[in-house]
């Protein structure tokens, strides 16, 4: 049997369903019904999402967004431990605490690297298309087993802790997926084509340096809008890179592609649209300012973007 990403969807769906039930039975929760409904709907997306008609899923997504937008997702009741309890178990377990934490990346890495050899009777053990994610899932299960054994806790306590962190993240947990969806809507609606049309029709590219600036800055700006360098690359490279930098000025396409994509990544550092990298960590680290991570990245991104202009200009036309 091949372990596929669908199994991970069921696992995550089950975790979210339990989270929803725990929320529903949490009598001290101020918004328990709307929060439980939100997590319940989200768990359905993973458990049965691909078997539902897309229109229904769309309705569910709109409902989830409205619950979140009007403050319906709240934080439940969690019993914190005392400072002494933390200190005592930190002292008792010491460096052993690092083992499960590091087991997640290590198992993920081993799984990813050895996946192509794990074939039994022609059937791969791990989904070849999603080896990293499937390995991450295995890594988390192995790490949970290690952590439970070490701390004498049950997996149920693990789920409770998972719910504590899920509550802390709130709707920010769903935002990356919402933005991913928006990216697909943008591309279906032809936003990329419209942007390329505007860029190429209204900007003068007769000066070589200027064309380089348009490409580099355009990649970053378009990534800021789309939240993803992968979405910006075909648009800017098809609109400016290939016809102007390579076609008109005969630049080296390998340099253009590499520096172009990395200019897009500078844009990723700057945008709330890249929720997984910028908004989620702010929530995960319990920062009051949701844009704190972006703020810490702005100087690096702008300085690097300037470097990219010169790297592209000097290395592309040697």
């Amino acid at each position: 049997m091949t372990l596929t990403i669908t199994h991970l969807y069921y696992l995550v769906g089950a975790i979210l369903a339990v989270t929803a039930v725990m929320t529903l039975t949490d009598r001290q929760h101020a918004k328990r019904y709307s929060s439980a409904f939100f997590w319940g709907l989200y768990s359905l997306v993973f458990l049965v999402g691909d078997r539902l008609p897309p229109v229904w899923v769309g309705v569910g997504v709109v409902v989830m967004a409205l619950i979140a937008a009007f403050g319906g997702v709240g934080i439940g009741h969690h019993v914190p431990r005392t400072v002494e309890q933390y200190a005592a178990s930190a002292k008792r377990l010491g460096n052993k605490l690092f083992i499960p934490a590091l087991a997640i990346p290590v198992v993920t890495m081993i799984g990813t690297l050895s996946a192509s050899h794990l074939v039994i009777g022609g059937t791969p053990l791990l989904d070849p298309k999603n080896t990293t994610l499937v390995s991450l899932g295995i890594g988390c299960i192995v790490a949970l087993a290690l952590a439970c054994k070490m701390t004498n806790e049950t997996p149920v306590q693990g789920i409770r802790e998972s719910r504590r962190l899920t509550d802390a993240l709130g709707w920010a947990l769903v935002l990356p997926q919402m933005l991913g969806m928006l990216g697909l809507v943008f591309s279906d609606a032809g936003v990329g084509k419209a942007v390329a049309h505007i860029t190429t029709s209204y900007i003068n590219m007769d000066v070589r340096f200027f064309a380089v600036v348009v490409y580099v800055v355009g990649m970053a700006l378009f990534t800021v809008i789309m939240g993803n360098g992968f979405a910006a690359f075909p648009v800017m490279t098809g609109g400016v890179g290939i016809p102007v930098l390579v076609g008109m000025y005969h630049g080296n396409p390998a340099v253009m592609a590499a520096v172009g994509m990395l200019s897009g990544y500078c844009g990723t550092l700057l945008t709330p649209m890249a929720a997984n990298f910028n908004i989620v960590p702010a929530a995960l680290l319990e920062l009051p300012d949701k844009n704190a991570v972006i703020r810490a990245q702005v100087p690096t991104a702008l300085a690097l973007l300037t470097c990219n202009v010169f790297i592209l200009y000097f290395l592309m036309f040697r």
Binding site: V45, L169, L284, I311
Partner: protein
């Protein structure tokens, strides 16, 4: 290229920018943008909902990397992982927040460059280990930290993970972005080897390290100024060489 290009979907771009600038709830901004954009492209209501639904199902893999590690990380936190990480780093006398993050930046870039992109990440590395360590290193020098400083250190820890990952992974030949680039260029009639694209990512990667490491060194200086008087140690001048060498 079709002759008639519908520019109305750009309305969606305006909506999302306005929404984020005016600080409306992001979930509301996104759903309104999706509906406005699809409407501007003349989609009927049923198709708008179906497009949203299909898109949401297609991107289900995005939250996995955040959701899956939560149980383990939560359990370990319950047993003092963060406290231990802080104590552990404060036992290393030469550790400053800036130097620690520079070492992490270098390690993250190098491991990502050989394809080990999953050796970091916010839920499994930054929250439980890197951020507490950055705080612990500062605490060991300056004593208890005000919230403003604590939050800044956490934001820098998250930023360092991002910078290291982004400007390391593109040097790895088998990475998705390289495949995407070469495929796109081939379709446009330009044949180049993936290895060439990967190699031309190196100058930017080096710049990224230098720029961000320099800013992390300044972070140590900022900490010393902000928390001045708390301790006799003056890290700003002494950080230069060991920090860069350590990475």
């Amino acid at each position: 290229m079709p002759t008639e290009i519908n520019l109305w979907p750009l309305l969606g771009v305006a909506v999302i920018i306005a929404g984020f600038v005016l600080r409306f709830n992001p979930m509301l901004v996104v759903i309104v943008t999706a509906i406005v954009t699809a409407f501007a492209a003349h989609f009927p209501v049923e198709k708008i909902l179906a497009t949203i639904g299909t898109g949401f199902i297609k991107t289900r893999n995005l939250p996995l990397i955040i959701l899956l590690p939560l149980a383990v990380i939560g359990l370990l936190e319950r047993h003092g992982l963060r406290q231990h990480a802080q104590r552990w780093i404060s036992s290393i006398k030469s550790a400053t927040s800036g130097r620690l993050l520079i070492v992490y930046l270098g390690a993250r870039q190098l491991t990502a460059a050989v394809g080990l992109t999953s050796l970091g990440g916010h839920p499994q590395m930054v929250r439980p280990l890197l951020a507490p360590m950055a705080e612990g290193a500062a605490e060991a020098r300056f004593g208890a930290l005000p919230d403003k400083v604590r939050h800044k250190l956490r934001a820098y820890a998250a930023a360092t993970d991002n910078v290291g990952l982004f400007f390391g992974e593109d040097i790895f030949v088998a990475f998705g972005a390289i495949v995407l680039m070469t495929t796109f260029l081939r379709e446009a009639g330009i044949d180049i080897e993936p290895i060439q694209v990967a190699l031309w990512g190196i100058p930017t990667a080096v710049c990224a390290f230098v720029i961000h490491a320099w800013r992390l060194r300044r972070l140590d200086g900022w900490l010393a100024r902000e928390l001045a008087g708390a301790t006799p140690v003056a890290p700003a001048a002494s950080t230069a060489n060991p920090a860069v060498k350590g990475a």
